[in-house]
Amino acid sequence: MANVMTANEMRRYTIRVAIYVVLGLCTIIFLTPVYLVIVTALKDPATINLASTWSLPESLYFESFNEVMVEFGPRIQNSVALVIAATAWSSIAGSLNGYVFSKWRIPGEKILFPLMLFGMFIPYQAILIPLFEFMRNVNLYGGIPGLILIHTVYGLPITTLIFRNFYVDIPDEMLEAASIDGADFWGLYRHVVFPLSIPGFVVVVIWQFTQIWNEFLFAVTMTNTDSQPITVGLAQLAGGEAVKWNLPMAGAIVAALPPLIIYIVLGRYFIRGLLAGSIKG
């Protein structure tokens, strides 16, 4: 009869089911923290105790978000200013650097490029104290401009890398043709390279945005109270006495929202930025 499956088909079917079951379990495991965060953020703090961790809120309590926004308020401004400026600067510089490193012969580039890349990997604790003294000496310590400078410079290696790998794929013939037509350094950039850079910019901007928005070490050691970005605000919410967990959870949601939105909407480019870190194009 047509409904009976062969042994082979039976086996394939079981395997398919097993695959979906495993994927389902993994999904549950991955999303359990999300469930907890949302549920806790919506609870009345008086009802939060260890025994009731997993239960749904008795009634939806949105006050936590208000409190969080009050605490975060100025910090969000700081984070936004920081991220926009640092991303802009490091992207532009990265694009120019990538253009030069991929299409122009610089004396010593075989050494200079790796030396620049190494900066991407150093533990930032290693340079924390000298950085601190430097910022103090140039009077940039404690404010957002200083933080912008820091993030721009330390973003240069990865942005240069991404753009360089991206531009390497631009055929040299295109540049040859344009330079025969009389284009110089800037002309080549303006007419050939830059118009093709948009995907590269998207990847770089997304990656830098996420990294800088989420960064904590510099945020906590290089700023004053009024220049603190949002990551520090979150750590403060959770670091106090007798933590009322609805606040840190609501804070976590608020702090994670911008990168998450970007990730969901532009995920493809996000992944490309990820993979660029392993020096694969």
């Binding site: 991955f30 490029f113 620049m116 190494f118 340079i127 350094f185 928005w213 994670a256 998450l260």
Partner: protein, 380 residues
């Protein structure tokens, strides 16, 4: 054509970046090394926070101090913690990432959605992750009471980040011995490898190296090279070394966050394998599992190596996650990244903090520099 003027312009365009990197990376590293050889913060006569502190050169004393002084057991524990954390974190991410990638390679419905779900933790900051998991791993709530709430079983009795259990205990003095065994094992593998490929010359060097290491070990010369603790017996009691169970919670949180990364890399790698290769193998009668084992996995070796390097270097400098999950005062989960913050910014021992930081840098360089070198050599 490319005029000389243009080449000068090109150089000038990258110059600011190069200068910035020179200052912010290499200049600062140099300064950190310099600070680590001073006594800033360790000299009771010179208040570390004064406007003009007099710092004197003390050579390698800070390094010796953190490796041998009885009160610096936090640093040695942090080394042990990093070691175990790195191993379990990297292996965990690789395994989970590989499993997920293989599962998603099976043409499942909604593959995009699954991928998005598994990858989203990467968009979070470590502070957010740490905060969430700290709440989940509260000893009297969260995960521990889940079996009870769902199935009516007993609640889990594990302190997670507050636990004081030590698995795989070992003594600090035994570390050189373990290192020697490890070195011998590596060399033996290399020797066997070369032997099988008929390159005898390299294996001769290998044999010599093994013999030397064995002799060093047996002659007890390690004790002279490896700085012995001031009070080895006391340390075994007051600060037992081993795999602190408190790290388990942090490892789980970190794997949750980063396995999406390895998964993405593996997916990209698997996609890069031409379908013809797999078809040909299928035609030759190879089973699906055989295809994975013989064709897909070997192709993924470079990716595995890449991922190990990247994850390894992240794990060596981990700070935010531990700070958010366990706080700065948890002796069981202390890592060097955290110690630099504590010693530098709370105890004002800037020289000691710099020494720890330089050691961190050293370990990171050991894995990154060969990797960068090999990657860039390939491109030529």
């Amino acid at each position: 054509m490319r005029s000389r003027k243009d080449r000068v312009i090109a150089f000038l365009m990258v110059l600011p970046s190069l200068v910035a990197i020179y200052i912010f990376v290499y200049g600062f590293i140099g300064q950190a090394i310099q600070t680590s050889t001073s006594d800033w913060g360790s000299n009771p006569a010179q208040p570390p926070l004064a406007v003009n502190v007099v710092k004197s050169y003390v050579g390698l004393q800070n390094y010796e101090n953190i490796m041998t002084d009885m009160l610096e057991f936090s640093f040695r524990n942090s080394l042990a913690n990093t070691f175990f954390f790195t191993i379990f974190f990297v292996v965990g991410c690789l395994v989970v990432g590989l499993v997920l990638a293989l599962l998603l390679d099976q043409n499942v419905v909604g593959e995009g959605i699954f991928r998005t779900i598994f990858l989203f933790p990467m968009a979070l900051s470590f502070v957010v992750t740490g905060t969430i998991w700290r709440w989940m791993l509260q000893p009297n709530g969260g995960i521990n009471i889940l079996p009870q709430q769902l199935f009516g079983l007993d609640p889990i009795d594990f302190g997670w980040v507050n636990s004081r259990d030590v698995l795989f205990p070992f003594e600090w003095g035994q570390v050189p011995t373990y290192l020697t065994y490890f070195g011998i094992a590596i060399i033996a593998i290399m020797v066997v490898n070369f032997a099988m490929k008929g390159r005898w010359r390299a294996s001769q060097y290998g044999v010599i190296a093994i013999v030397i290491m064995g002799l060093v070990l047996m002659a007890g010369l390690w004790d002279k090279i490896w700085l012995p603790l001031d009070e080895a017996a006391t340390e075994a009691i007051i600060a037992p070394k081993g795999f602190n169970a408190a790290l388990i919670g942090i490892i789980i949180a970190a794997v949750w966050q980063m396995s999406g990364y390895t998964m993405a890399m593996f997916i990209a790698g698997i996609r890069g394998i031409p379908e013809e290769l797999r078809e040909a193998a299928r035609v030759d009668g190879c089973s699906e599992i055989g295809i994975y084992w013989r064709i897909v996995l070997p192709q993924l070796n470079p990716i595995i190596l890449s991922a190990m390097i990247i994850l390894g270097h992240i794990s060596l400098k981990i700070f935010d996650l531990v700070f958010a999950m366990a706080g700065p005062d948890n002796a069981q989960t202390v890592v060097p990244g955290l110690l630099v913050y504590i010693e530098g910014f709370r105890e004002n021992s800037f020289a000691r903090a710099s020494a720890i930081a330089v050691i961190m840098l050293f370990f990171v360089s050991v894995i990154i520099v060969p990797y960068l070198w090999s990657q860039l050599r390939e491109e030529v």
